[in-house]
Subunit: 353 residues, 2 copies
C-alpha cells in the first residue's frame, strides 16, 4: 500500500545562522545591529493598546505603507510590506518569476535565492562574480525569466552605483529585475528613485539591519503599481495579514525617527572603518564594505580554523564552507567594545597559529 | 518582443472580510473576539525589552512552542508555529499535500482552501455537505492526496465528535489528514489527543479567535514528529523567522492564563445561546453552533437584503454569495451589548420588509 509519507515534500531547507543560548557571547554572525531600535519604536510598543489586538491587522497596512512611502518619496500604492524581507522576496519570486526561462543571480550571494527557486520550482542560472568578487554586468545580457541582485551584495559587502543598475535596466526589458537592498543604508547607493523610470524594477528592503528591528520582522518592496499589484495578489492568496499590528506601529515610528537612524548608522560605519584598518594591519585582506559587515581573508591563516577558534572564545562570526569563499569570514560590525574584543582575540589567534 | 509582464503570475486572490474605517461600527463580520486579550499578554507586551528587537527571533520558537506543548500535554517537538493559522495551513498544504491525487475538503468550508490549491498547484475535489450541512464521512473514503476538514466547520458552525475523526483516520491511511480547529474552543471537540495514535493526523489552531490575538498573528499545528519536521523544512525554505519576538512573548503569556481564557469563552458561549434563541423567536433557522458565530437563515426574508440593511445601520455581519448558502448569514458573537443592538436592528428589518 502507498504510504501517507509519499505525499510529504522532500526539500533541503535553508539553515539559518547559528544562535547561541549561552550568555556572554559577542554575536557578530547574523548581521544584526548592535544598537537598540529607535526610542520612538520602543514607545510605540509600550503605548500600544493591547485591547486592539483582538482585531485583525489592517490587511492594507496603510499606517506602515504610508510611513515608508513618505520616507522614500513614493506613493503608498508603490509600497508592499511583508513579514521580513525574506517573506517579501519569497512572494516576489512567486509573483514575478513565473516564466519558463531561468532567472539569473550571482554565484556568490544570499543563499536563500536557490532555496526559493527549489521551493517554487523556478529554474535558475548563476553568474560567476569576477576574481575581485565584482558582478560582471554582461553576464546579465543572457535571456532570462528574471534577475535578482543584492546591492550591496552579501557576503561580499561590495556595492555597485546607480549607473550600473541603469545599464542593467537598459538592456533587460523582457523580465523583472529585483534589487535586494537589505544593506544599502550602510553606505550603498539606493536605486529606489529608478523605480519611477523602470516599471519592471523592484527594490526590496528591510527594517532588520539599519533599523534594528530584526525581532519584529518587517520587510518592504518599492516598485510600479503593476509589480506591487502582482505581489499583493500572491500575498492575498497566501495569508491576508502578514505584518502584525504592533510591528506596523513600531515600524512606522522607527522610520519617522531619521535622526536616531542616521546616528546609529554613522556609529556602525565609523566602527567598520576602524575595524577594517585594524584587520589590515594584522595582515587581513578586507573587501571595501558598504554594509554592516566585513568580508575578509588572510593569506597566512586558515579562516575555518580562525572562525572555530573565535567560537571557543565566545566570539561568533560567520564562515561559509562554499566554493571560492571557503577561506573567507564574514564579520558583523558590533559596538566599539565588541570589536575591541574581537580584534584582541584575532591578535591572539594570529600569534599562536 | 516578449514583455516582462508575461512573467507575472496571474492569480485570483482571496478577498478578506470587509474592514470599516468608520467609527461606531458593530463589527460582527470577521469572527473576532469582542474581549481584549489576557492582561498577562498585555503585560508581556508592555514589559517587552524593545532593545532585544535588534536580534532575530529564536528561529526554533522555543518559548511559544513550549507554552503550547505544555498546555496541550504534548512535547515541544510535536508543535509547529506560524504567522497566523493561515500561514500554518499554507505551509501544511505545501509540505503535506505534494502527491498527485486530488485532496478532499467540503464544498462549503473555509474559502482559502481552493485558493491555496491554486497557488501551489494542488488538485482538489470538494465533497458536498448533506442537506443539513453535515459532513458525509463516506465521501472521504475516495482515493486522495490528503484531506482537510475544519472542525467545527465554517461558516456552518457545526462540529463533529472525536469518534468521527477516529473513523476517518481508520480508513484513511495513505494520506495526511488535517483538522483545522480554528473554532474548537467555543464548544467543539478537539482531536489533539488523537495525534498520539495517528502519525498522519495534523491539528491546526489559532490564537486569533478564542485568545483575542488576531492582531498578533499566531497559529500553530500539533502532530507527529514526522509531520512537524516536514512543516519545518518548508518553513525554513521560505522564511526562517515567521513569528516575531513580541508575538512569541505575548502568545506564551496568553496561553498560560487559562482562567481568563475560560471566562471569555464562557461569556461568548452564553451570549451565543441567548442570541440564537432571540433569532429563533424572530423566525430564523439557526444552526447549532459550536463556534463564536451563528449561521442562520429566514424563510421569509432575503438574507442579502438583510445583510445590506444592517450595513446601513452600522452593523456588519457576513454574507457569502455562494451556491447553497446564498440565503444565509454568518453573525459573529460580540458583547452582550453588541448583540442587543444587532437583535434590535434585526427586529426593525423584519418589521419593515
Amino acid at each position: 500500500m502507498k504510504s501517507w509519507k509519499d505525499n510529504l515534500r522532500k526539500i533541503e531547507p535553508y539553515t539559518p545562522g547559528e544562535q547561541s543560548k549561552a550568555g556572554g557571547v559577542i554575536k557578530l554572525n547574523a548581521n544584526e545591529n548592535p544598537y537598540p531600535p529607535s526610542p520612538a519604536a520602543a514607545a510605540a510598543i509600550k503605548n500600544f493598546d493591547a485591547g486592539a489586538l483582538r482585531l485583525y491587522p489592517d490587511a492594507g497596512g496603510a499606517l506602515l505603507k504610508n510611513a515608508i512611502a513618505e520616507y522614500y518619496g513614493v506613493e503608498s500604492k508603490n509600497v508592499f510590506i511583508g513579514n521580513g524581507s525574506d517573506d517579501v522576496i519569497a512572494v516576489s519570486f512567486q509573483a514575478l518569476f513565473s516564466g519558463d526561462k531561468p532567472i539569473l543571480f550571482p554565484d556568490i550571494t544570499y543563499s536563500f535565492y536557490p532555496v526559493w527557486c527549489s521551493l517554487f520550482d523556478i529554474k535558475y542560472k548563476t553568474c560567476p562574480l569576477d576574481s575581485n568578487f565584482r558582478i560582471n554586468l554582461n553576464d546579465y545580457r543572457a535571456e532570462n525569466g528574471g534577475i535578482i541582485i543584492p546591492n550591496p551584495n552579501a557576503p561580499t559587502s561590495l556595492g555597485e552605483g546607480r549607473e550600473f543598475i541603469r545599464q542593467l535596466m537598459s538592456f533587460n526589458k523582457s523580465s523583472v529585475v529585483i534589487i535586494d537592498e537589505a544593506y544599502v543604508d550602510f553606505g550603498g547607493m539606493s536605486s529606489i528613485c529608478l523605480t519611477r523610470e523602470y516599471e519592471n524594477l523592484l527594490i526590496t528592503g528591510t527594517f532588520s539591519k539599519s533599523r534594528s528591528l530584526a525581532g519584529l520582522r518587517i520587510g518592504f518592496a518599492i516598485g510600479s503599481e503593476t509589480l506591487i499589484s502582482a505581489l499583493e495578489a500572491v500575498k492575498n492568496s497566501y495569508n491576508s495579514y502578514t505584518v502584525d499590528s504592533i510591528a506596523m506601529a513600531a515600524g512606522a515610528a522607527a522610520i519617522k525617527d531619521d535622526e536616531y537612524f542616521k546616528s546609529t548608522v554613522k556609529k556602525i560605519t565609523d566602527v567598520r572603518k576602524k575595524t577594517a584598518s585594524q584587520l589590515q594591519e594584522l595582515g587581513f585582506k578586507v573587501l571595501e564594505s558598504q554594509t554592516n559587515f566585513l568580508f575578509a581573508t588572510h593569506s597566512n591563516a586558515d579562516m575555518k580554523d580562525y572562525f572555530n577558534y573565535l567560537k571557543t572564545q565566545k566570539v561568533f562570526i560567520r564562515y561559509f564552507d562554499l566554493p571560492r569563499i571557503n577561506n573567507y569570514v564574514r564579520i558583523t560590525i558590533g559596538t566599539e567594545k565588541d570589536m575591541c574584543i574581537f580584534i584582541e582575540k584575532t591578535r591572539q589567534y594570529l600569534k599562536n597559529h
